[in-house]
């Protein structure tokens, strides 16, 4: 009775990175679809963190435990190593302090799953070359109304991971349409619309 088909494609991939029976912290959990899926099909326990009031209500109705607070504020109150996996799905780019958030994720869990849109995706570069800020399926906002505060390419992001001592266990990259890219090295920085990283603190 997998509800996998109902999960957004990137969430399904995130779900696949999470071990059966884990305690999961889902930062920016939205309506709680991932946690609901993990609780129903993988015997997981967990907590979501979400600041959007409507989404929080849906999560509550689904039976997903959710803390309605800003991610960085909520994270500060979470104990060291108190979760098996911490998830940050397409949210890092909206954080005022991404470095702080990543550091704290490494503090609270031994396994981190981070999904991000890739600002270095080639249509974005072309649009910028043409003198326009990128707007794409992954970044569907104008500069003045975007919730995204921090734009990063995969290469820049991986530099930050290294700087924070985070080890990349796996990286999955996608085209804009959601097709998996079977490529390694720096090429995906040009061809991937988004990526999912599985990280662990190098401690």
């Amino acid at each position: 009775m997998s509800k996998h088909s109902e999960l957004r494609l990137d969430l399904a991939l995130v779900a696949d990175q999470i071990f059966e029976g884990s305690r999961v912290l889902d930062l920016g959990c939205g309506e709680g679809a991932l946690l609901e899926h993990l609780m129903a099909t993988r015997r997981c326990r967990g907590t979501g963190v979400e600041i959007d009031a409507e989404a929080v209500l849906v999560a509550i109705r689904r039976g997903v435990p959710v803390i309605e607070r800003d991610i960085d504020v909520a994270l500060a109150d979470i104990a060291d190593d108190s979760y098996d996996t911490v998830v940050l799905s397409r949210t890092l780019q909206t954080m005022l302090r991404p470095e702080y958030v990543l550091e704290n994720m490494a503090r609270v869990a031994e396994r981190m799953v981070v999904s991000v849109p890739n600002f270095g995706y080639y249509p974005n570069r072309l649009r910028l070359l043409a003198g326009r800020m990128p707007i794409s399926k992954e970044i569907p906002y104008a500069w003045y109304n975007s919730p995204n505060l921090r734009f990063t390419t995969l290469t820049d992001l991986e530099d930050l991971f290294a700087q924070l001592g985070l080890i990349i266990d796996r990286r999955y990259t996608y085209t804009q349409s959601g097709r998996r890219l079977r490529m390694y090295g720096r090429v995906p920085n040009l061809l991937a619309g988004a990526a999912v990283y599985v990280l662990r603190p190098g401690r």
Binding site: L57, A59, I60, I67
Partner: protein
């Protein structure tokens, strides 16, 4: 029990009383003292499911009573949480069986310091033993046993009611599947205790208090009790709510300044103090408020061990303008519960009305309770 005139109301209700402990088999308090007999006033709404799986227990706040919903014959106002309880309301009496009782030490039908002490034939007064949050829970559990209810779907309460739910969930987690704790605290601050101290001093220093023997002497500390209520009432409202309601409006336009009730807000407080005298007892105020001062469950050794072994799903709610029990109080509970690995949901709701918000209708607040309760009802 339907009332065609008021859609969603449980209609006419009556408070019932059960003798849960007798003089021969008294209630053993956490302090080691005993009280007996103990009568408990309670009301129920809705219908108990054949498998008894649909029970919600309401714990009331400092000055509440068993009459949470519906109407008593001839009353001008419904029960204190009527906006929440009824057919189609968030605590839907078409689906849930709701139990609401007056707490031990109260003065609304349950045994308290104003009750007759069988040893003397007079009111207990200050002879009544000091109470503990655990004692409220003991009596709630006795009522459930009396009603033949083995398990609660949800225990739910605001303010002191939420503190009872917290205590209950920590000490007897197998009694319930869900705990809803609203605008409550796990540990009063010095400021909280200070306000309660002044309220109690107003009562005990009223000459008519007579060392707690006012009932026997045929008096009542009206002045002290009404001042206690007036001051407490200020802490239940936000500054903005008071401003919106009264501003600096004069009570009588154009009247000469003096030391009477010049401002509208003074008249309001005076009224609150006066109507309180009709329904509340000074000794109950002392005893119940003192229980709150001493409540500090997370200071006990391994306070969450039982509930971790028998998990309860928590919903913790606070209101952003509440300065009686600010969101910091609820976050403290959240930190303990979350760190214990328990399933917990937290929301800070926006409301202009301060601590009193938990009694009022607010769309986001009621939608949150509805979502949590509906879910609980499905998975029971």
């Amino acid at each position: 029990m339907s009332d065609d005139d008021s859609d969603g109301s449980v209609g006419l209700v009556e408070t019932q009383t059960a003798r849960l402990f007798s003089a021969e088999k008294p209630l053993a308090l956490a302090s080691g003292a005993t009280v007996g007999p103990v009568d408990v006033a309670y009301e129920t709404y809705g219908t108990l499911a054949p498998d008894r799986s649909n029970v919600i227990y309401i714990c009331h706040a400092l000055t509440g009573d068993a009459h949470a919903a519906g109407w008593h014959e001839g009353d001008r106002r419904p029960g204190w949480w009527d906006n929440l309880i009824g057919p189609g309301r968030p605590l839907d009496t078409d689906r849930f069986f709701i139990v609401s009782s007056n707490i031990l030490g109260g003065c609304r039908g349950t045994t308290g310091p104003g009750s007759t002490n069988p040893a003397t034939g007079e009111a207990y007064g200050m002879e009544f033993p000091l109470l503990d949050m655990a004692d409220f829970v003991t009596v709630h559990r006795a009522l459930l046993a009396h009603l033949g209810i083995p398990h609660l779907l949800i225990a739910l309460g605001g303010s002191l009611g939420g503190m009872q739910v917290l205590e209950w969930s920590l000490t007897y987690p197998h009694d319930m599947s869900h705990a809803v704790i609203i605008a409550a605290s796990s540990r009063l601050t010095a400021q909280n205790i200070a306000f309660s101290a002044v309220a109690r001093r107003a009562i005990t220093d009223d000459p008519n208090f007579a060392g707690g023997r006012y009932a026997a002497e045929g008096t009542n500390p009206d002045v002290g009790l009404s001042i206690a209520r007036m001051m407490a009432h200020i802490t239940y409202m936000s500054e903005d709510a008071l401003t919106a309601k009264f501003g600096r409006n004069a009570q009588i336009e154009g009247a000469d300044p003096g030391f009477g009730i010049d401002f509208a807000v003074e008249s309001y407080l005076d009224h609150q103090g006066q109507v309180f005298l009709e329904r509340f007892d000074a000794l109950s105020y002392l005893y119940l408020s003192r229980v709150m001062d001493y409540f500090d469950p997370f200071s006990r050794p391994d306070p969450l061990a039982r509930v971790v072994a028998d998990p309860v799903r928590y919903l913790l709610l606070s209101f952003d303008t509440d300065w009686r029990f600010s969101t910091a109080h609820t976050l403290r509970i959240l930190a303990h519960v979350e760190r214990a690995g328990l399933p917990v949901t937290f929301r800070e709701l926006r409301s202009p009305y301060g601590h009193d918000s938990f009694l009022l209708v607010d769309p986001a607040y009621h939608a949150t309770l509805r979502a949590f309760v509906d879910r609980a009802g499905e998975v029971r």
